[in-house]
């Protein structure tokens, strides 16, 4: 009797555990069902777009159920990494930037696109070579290009008028001069509205990415290809010094901006900064949150970042087909115009008439009609890119807090050298460093 009672306990426990397993299995089964498609996005503002695409597919796939799960980019990248390595259940359409996707392609974690999709993407009438290249590797196509993150200057025209400025700054020197004129100060001289909002704090790689955009105007880069799939840093030089010095001058000498001031789109929408550099989604954001804001956009002096984002499909056999159909449907002209108009991210497909949107919203012009010779750069498609940017960002935050560096070129050079060496160490560890 004694033993039996003990066993009763065990079986209760076993029951509990098996119930847990059962529930887990059940939920697994339900997502596997053929007519369900999951869309993983790293941009919450993209969710309505994917819903819209799904709506449009209703005619051809009446029973199709599309689940859109759009979460913050960091979390999105985490779940992709863990989901793909652990055997994803069901068919999932995954939105990834070309640079992030590379590491999955290298490890065979994402399947190649079927032939018809591949033809669609490779057709130069549909996509510029730049975009079809980032969606593939070694001549094969793995993803369908969708939109890109491209930067431009946003400026508050009311504030420009008040400061006697009529046009957007055209050189980096002008950016600094404008920032000085645009900064509003209280009686003690402390800035209350920043002239030029720069990314100076926060966690993660954003700081380094923004620094790169500024440095690009001077001809520098955090990483440049060194042939043979190898990379090398390219910022311990004049371009790096000029870019960093511009930050330091604005923070410590002309005091047009401080780390604790409200920054970015949020500040711009509230009139807390006069200008800043950001991607096209801000246009949609302003339309939603600050529709009365008077602003304009302008291309950057030399060129911009262009971060293409593609759609990939994880899934097997016939089920995956509907995933690819979805990726293609997202690229239909109607949907792309809808994307530009309602979300604001720039579609990558050529040969689509966006003028219905761009003519009504002149702010898009800076993203679409850029000058001849405008130079684009993109994040390298290498595994440790995020680690490198995070580490450069951590160093930059220290520099942005060091007033003594502002007037000391030797100190700036030493700092850039040290940071550049650190980047090289990571590249060497991963076997990516140029000899």
């Amino acid at each position: 009797m004694k033993n039996r009672s003990a066993k009763t306990r065990i079986s209760t426990r076993a029951l509990l555990v098996s119930a847990a397993f059962g529930a887990a299995l059940l939920s697994g089964v339900s997502t596997v069902s053929a007519e369900t498609l999951t869309v993983w996005s790293g941009y919450p503002e993209m969710a309505p777009f994917y819903e819209h695409v799904a709506q449009g597919m209703k005619a051809a796939y009446p029973k199709l159920e599309v689940k859109v799960e759009a979460i913050a980019l960091r979390e999105h990248e985490k779940r992709v990494a863990l989901g793909l390595t652990g055997g994803q259940d069901g068919t999932t359409v995954i939105e990834l930037s070309g640079s992030t996707a590379t590491r999955y392609l290298e490890n065979d974690l994402l399947p190649e696109a079927p032939a018809d999709i591949s033809t669609f993407v490779k057709d130069p009438k549909n996509f510029d070579k730049f975009f079809s290249d980032t969606a593939g590797q070694g001549g094969k196509i793995y993803g369908v290009p969708l939109f890109r993150g491209q930067g431009a200057l946003y400026y508050n025209t009311d504030m420009f008028k008040a400061a006697g400025l009529t046009a957007a700054p055209k050189t980096m020197e002008e950016y600094s001069a404008y920032a000085e004129k645009l900064t509003k100060r209280d009686a003690s001289g402390k800035a209350t509205v920043s002239g030029w909002s720069m990314r100076l704090s926060g966690g993660g790689q954003g700081i380094a990415e923004k620094f790169w955009i500024n440095m690009h105007q001077y001809g520098g880069a955090i990483l440049v290809p060194a042939g043979d799939g190898k990379w090398k840093p390219n910022f311990a030089n004049e371009a790096g010094r000029k870019a960093l010095k511009q930050y330091l001058t604005n923070i410590f000498t002309t005091k047009t901006v401080t780390p604790e001031m409200p920054a970015d789109a949020d500040a711009f929408e509230r009139g807390q900064t006069a200008m800043f550099i950001r991607e096209s989604w801000v246009i949609g954001d302003i339309a939603k949150k600050a529709p009365d804001l008077k602003y304009a956009t302008a291309p950057l002096p030399k060129g911009s970042i262009a971060l293409p984002t593609n759609l990939y499909v994880a899934g097997k056999g016939a089920d995956a087909k509907v995933g690819w159909e979805f990726a293609k449907a997202a690229n239909s002209p109607d949907n792309l115009v809808w994307l530009l108009q309602n979300v604001g991210w720039l579609p990558n497909r050529s040969g689509v008439d966006y003028s219905a949107v761009t003519s009504k919203q002149p702010a898009f012009a800076a993203f679409v009609d850029y000058p001849k010779g405008y130079e684009f750069f993109t994040l390298p498609s290498i595994g440790p890119i995020e680690e490198i940017l995070t580490r450069v960002a951590a160093q930059l935050v220290v520099a942005f807090g060091d007033a003594s560096m502002a007037g000391d070129d030797a100190k700036i050079d030493a700092f850039l050298k040290k940071t550049s060496d650190e980047v090289n160490t990571i590249l060497a560890r991963e076997g990516l460093a140029a000899k």
Binding site: I10, K78, A81, S201, G203, P259, A263, A265, P384, T390
Partner: protein, 295 residues
Amino acid sequence: MLKRKRWIFAILAILPTLALFAYVRLYPIADTLRLSLFKWDILSKNKPFVGLANFRELTGDHLFIDALVNTTIIAFGVLILTIPMALIIAALIFHRTRSRMAGFYETAVFIPHVVSLVPAAMAWKWIFDARLGPLNALLTFFGIPAQSWLFDPVLSVICIIILCSWQALGYAVLIYIVGFKNLPVSLYEAAKLDGASGPQSFWYLSIPMLKPITLYVSVVTLVSGFNVYAQAFVLASDAQGAPGRQVRVLVLDMLENSFRNYRVGYAASEAVVLLVIVLGLTLIQFSMLRERGKV
């Protein structure tokens, strides 16, 4: 015979718990130790054994060292702030045990320890806010220049120490109150007869007699200080409109290495370092207690 039956019952009864325990505690702990010796990247198929290479890399990794230094400063900062304050507050609450307010004091001091961390940190984020926060309003009211609390490299660490102390205080006070309740009353009466004032008996009687409790609370505070994460995450999270300075702490660096850089083996080696620190602190506590026992 009977003994044997009882033994069988005991083993059978303990088995499910033991199995569970082995699965959710022992195995992952062992796995942490194992992973720390591998170049175990989530994405690569090849996960080679690298011996102590991860630990060697740690010694030259300035982000890790930064995190280790910050975490140590935070842990000891919280300790230094919390223990004396807790001792005094506990003594005073104990002194007023019979007053109607005692329950209120206890609750008020303890609530920060039980409220969810994230909402509490939100409140502090506003308090520390450079432009809108009441802390700077108070400072400027007294003619002290406003500080950018969450952005200055030193102040941002202090902010985390304050937030952690605010949460740790209640626990320490509670443990001390129990300690006071267990002190022999007769000793205090004797001291009173000998003419000792309240503060005197606090200083010469309570503090020495509460030493084991102080030791215990110190170690608990230190260990939880070394595990600080959510506070740093919330006070300086990625929010683009109002970021703060990222105070790098051990757990944060660990999670970043494993889930952003996908270097799980490397993160495991950080976890091992954390484990060694915590074990060291606990051993110090035990040896100090034993020494006391001998005297």
